[in-house]
């Protein structure tokens, strides 16, 4: 039966996250962007909401909740509404947890998941993007060659929290296949580079990785002999990022809408002019449009159906949408949008990243 209202449980999660985003994230996000770091208490506070490790089975220390991409998109939107850097930081452990829970071997689950069920935030991450303008996840230039174990070679970038993670899930091409490999901290041949400096998401620590003849044991291939389902992981990542784009866009829309009602020009609020009001209307329509497309893709993923087309369309639509909407956000505010006293320029910078951000979040 077609429906558009989140379940009671989903509403509860959304409200909890919304509260946290309003009370905690929004209070500090500008400072974090300027300082390039996020205080541990914010991250730990988010961790205590229990959303990230919730899908880990109970016997391994998690809550054993059934995973839902749709619920994930709802909470990721709220987190990203709070702040994108923080949202990506808070959700980074999912980049390792979710693939292991869904596709890992029993041994992999036992070995890596319990450490991620603690009371405090524990970093874990995945390395997906490569530093090429024509980076193509269909043909990773990072390779995994089978010998006694696997030898990894290649370069990765935009790896969130790489310096602090005990292990990194590395995506690589293995012949014709695309597979993931668990690379533990300190593995010979794994070099974690300097922290990256980007246009936006400045509070999120991301790193370049070099893999030089980096050898991992055969049992570190995600899913063991069976391997993992790259398409599904890529799609779960697409809906995660698309929902974050919706969150960022909604933030910009709401802020510039409120501003336009306050700001007077020619004797009345600028919102009472069609030139401004129509931009705001388009922003609202586009935010809703992108969200609905993304919900449909996530819903399909929850049914375990192939949703590559839906997820790609939703991601691509959201990528365009968030750029348009955050641009309007700055435009509505004019000069006041351009200065760093106001947040719309931050959202505008963050928005530009979404076409680059692939595999940097998963729900």
């Amino acid at each position: 039966m077609i429906g558009f209202s989140p379940s009671e449980e989903q509403n509860m999660i959304v409200n909890t996250v919304k509260q946290f985003a309003t009370d905690v994230m929004r209070k500090k996000f500008r400072d974090c962007d300027e300082a390039g770091e996020i205080p541990a208490e914010i991250i730990d506070g988010a961790w205590e909401l229990g959303l990230v490790a919730s899908c880990i089975p109970e016997q391994l220390g998690g809550a054993g909740w059934e995973h839902s991409a749709l619920t994930g998109t709802l909470l990721a939107e709220e987190l990203a509404w709070g702040d994108l850097s923080m949202a990506m930081h808070i959700l980074a452990p999912s980049l390792a947890i979710l693939p292991i829970v869904e596709m890992g071997t029993e041994e992999q689950k036992k070995k890596y998941l319990p450490a991620l069920c603690g009371n405090k935030f524990t970093a874990a991450t995945a390395a997906f993007i490569e530093p090429l303008y024509d980076f193509d996840p269909n043909e990773f230039s990072t390779t995994a060659k089978r010998n006694s174990g696997y030898t990894l070679n290649g370069q990765k970038c935009y790896v969130p929290l790489a310096a602090g993670a005990d292990f990194i899930l590395v995506y690589a091409g293995e012949g014709e296949e695309r597979q993931c490999f668990i690379v533990e901290k300190g593995t010979k041949g794994l070099e974690i580079g300097e922290r990256e400096q980007n246009m936006g998401i400045k509070a999120l620590a991301t790193y370049e990785l070099n893999l030089k003849d980096c050898k991992v044991p055969a049992e570190n291939r995600l899913g063991g002999k069976k391997g993992s389902d790259f398409n599904r992981l890529a799609n779960l990542s697409r809906v995660a990022l698309a929902s974050m784009a919706v969150g960022v866009a909604r933030a910009s829309f709401e802020f510039s809408r409120d501003y336009a009602k306050e700001r007077h020009a020619f004797g009345e609020p600028i919102a009472s002019r069609q030139a401004i009001a129509f931009m705001l209307a388009d922003m609202a329509i586009e935010v809703d449009a992108a969200r609905l497309l993304n919900w449909e893709a996530a819903w399909k993923l929850d049914r375990n159906e192939d949703a590559t087309r839906e997820a790609c369309l939703a991601k691509s639509y959201a990528d365009n949408m968030v750029m348009l909407v955050t641009d309007y956000g700055v435009q509505v505010m004019g000069g006041h949008g351009y200065v760093r006293d106001n947040p719309v320029e931050l959202w505008f910078r963050n928005a530009r990243g979404f076409t680059t951000f692939t595999g940097m979040a998963i729900v």
Binding site: I2, G3, P137, F278, I285, L292, L293, C312
Partner: protein, 393 residues
């Protein structure tokens, strides 16, 4: 629950609508585009018989999905198909049960009939508060006077059948918007005359006419909603409730034409060995792939906005904001997507041998009737901002 699963019952209805679109509409699509004012009698009879069996008698999500399918076949022929149309939707939205019976029962019996709605006048379109047509009470009657233009399906409703027309008129010009009421006039009522039949850019299988009212007397209880003028806007709001139904429906028409263009474009590309790769990065996409994905996602997004507005309507949730969002989005998407399809198909797109150029012409009306894209954007903006008409003109 958030769910995108169409019920099994609806799936059957949608498939049935698609078969009709494919087998009955498409084969005669071009003919009635080229023979503008002819009546597709075989199709009319078939659609009327289908209606008798319950085909497309519901509104809501089911209705929107079916309308999209039929307009995938041909938007003009869909409008030309007999049924209560926008007039019926107005009666349904603003009428009493007694009126439903009196005016709508005819659409389930006898010969084919159409319904129409008359709002636009030579001097006013989007600004319905400027309507000049008058309704003056005379005992048990209303006397209508005025001229209405751009009445979709007016000729077939009033001259080819015993249909109805819903007419908007003012009962008190000094009351402004509050004096605006809608009235049902039955075919054959003396004092009502169908005049000029428009020649149009597209949807040529539908008829669009001028209807003139010259001391046209109708029973007092043909008014939709209350006769008295209460608050400043109450009467007008009642009449506007019609749009909550009709805007998503018209948006669904837009989606049908749009998807027709997309499907045909995909077929033509396939013939040339081109398959859209959804999962390649932008740096490796071809221009056609990039365009196609933009077009398809815009169509789908508009589709979901329409379904959401209908879902609200079904559940009794106010949907005026979302109905206008859906209409604004779908009208614009239809316009842009069908234009792009013509462009991408080059000489094939521009030629009347194929239907791309027709889709583009047919699509354009959807950003105009039932509120232009701009009027719907204005409605969205006012609601988002909590502004009145005076605060946001």
């Amino acid at each position: 629950m958030i769910d995108f699963e169409i019920s099994a019952e609806d799936k059957v209805k949608v498939e049935e609508a698609h078969e009709i679109a494919q087998n009955l509409f498409r084969p005669i699509s071009r003919y009635y585009d080229e023979h503008e004012h002819e009546d597709p009698m075989d199709l009319i009879d078939t659609m009327w018989k289908m209606r008798g069996k319950g085909f497309l008698t519901g509104l809501g999500i089911t209705g929107a999905l079916m309308v999209e399918e039929l307009c995938w076949g041909d938007a003009g022929l869909y409008l030309a198909s007999p049924g209560p149309g926008l007039g019926g939707a107005a009666v349904f939205a603003a009428g009493t049960q007694e009126q439903w019976g009196r005016f709508l029962a005819r659409y389930g019996e006898g010969k084919p009939k159409w319904g129409a709605m008359a709002m636009t006048e030579p001097g006013c379109g989007s600004d319905t508060s400027a309507i000049q047509a008058t309704a003056v009470r005379d005992g048990d009657y209303w006397v209508l006077n005025g001229e209405k233009i751009f009445v979709t399906m007016g000729r077939r409703a009033l001259e080819l059948s015993e249909g109805i027309i819903v007419v908007w008129a003012t009962v008190d010009k000094s009351a402004g918007r509050a004096g605006m009421k809608s009235f049902v006039v039955e075919a054959g009522t003396p004092g009502m005359k169908v005049e000029k039949q428009e020649k149009k850019l597209g949807i040529k299988a539908s008829d669009t006419v001028t209807v003139v009212f010259d001391n046209c007397r109708i029973p007092f209880n043909n008014i939709l909603g209350k006769a008295e003028i209460k608050t400043k806007t109450e009467g007008f709001k009642g009449a506007m409730a019609t749009f909550d139904v009709t805007r998503p429906l018209v948006a669904a028409q837009a989606l049908g034409v749009t998807r027709a263009a997309l499907d045909m474009l995909r077929d033509e590309l396939t013939k040339r060995g081109i398959k859209v790769r959804y999962d390649v990065p932008r740096s490796k996409q071809t221009a056609i792939e990039r365009d196609f994905m933009e077009m398809e996602s815009n169509w789908r997004a508009a589709h979901l906005l329409v379904i959401r507005a209908m879902w609200q309507l079904q559940g009794g949730t106010p949907n005026a904001l979302e109905a206008s969002m859906a209409k604004a989005k779908a009208g614009r998407a239809a316009t842009l997507i069908t234009q792009r399809a013509v462009e991408l198909m080059g000489p094939l797109g521009y030629s009347r041998k194929l239907l791309f150029e027709k889709f583009m012409r047919d699509a354009k009306i959807n950003d105009i009737f039932e509120g232009t894209g701009q009027i719907n954007t204005l409605v969205v903006a006012r609601r988002l901002l909590g502004y009145s008409r005076d605060q946001l003109k």
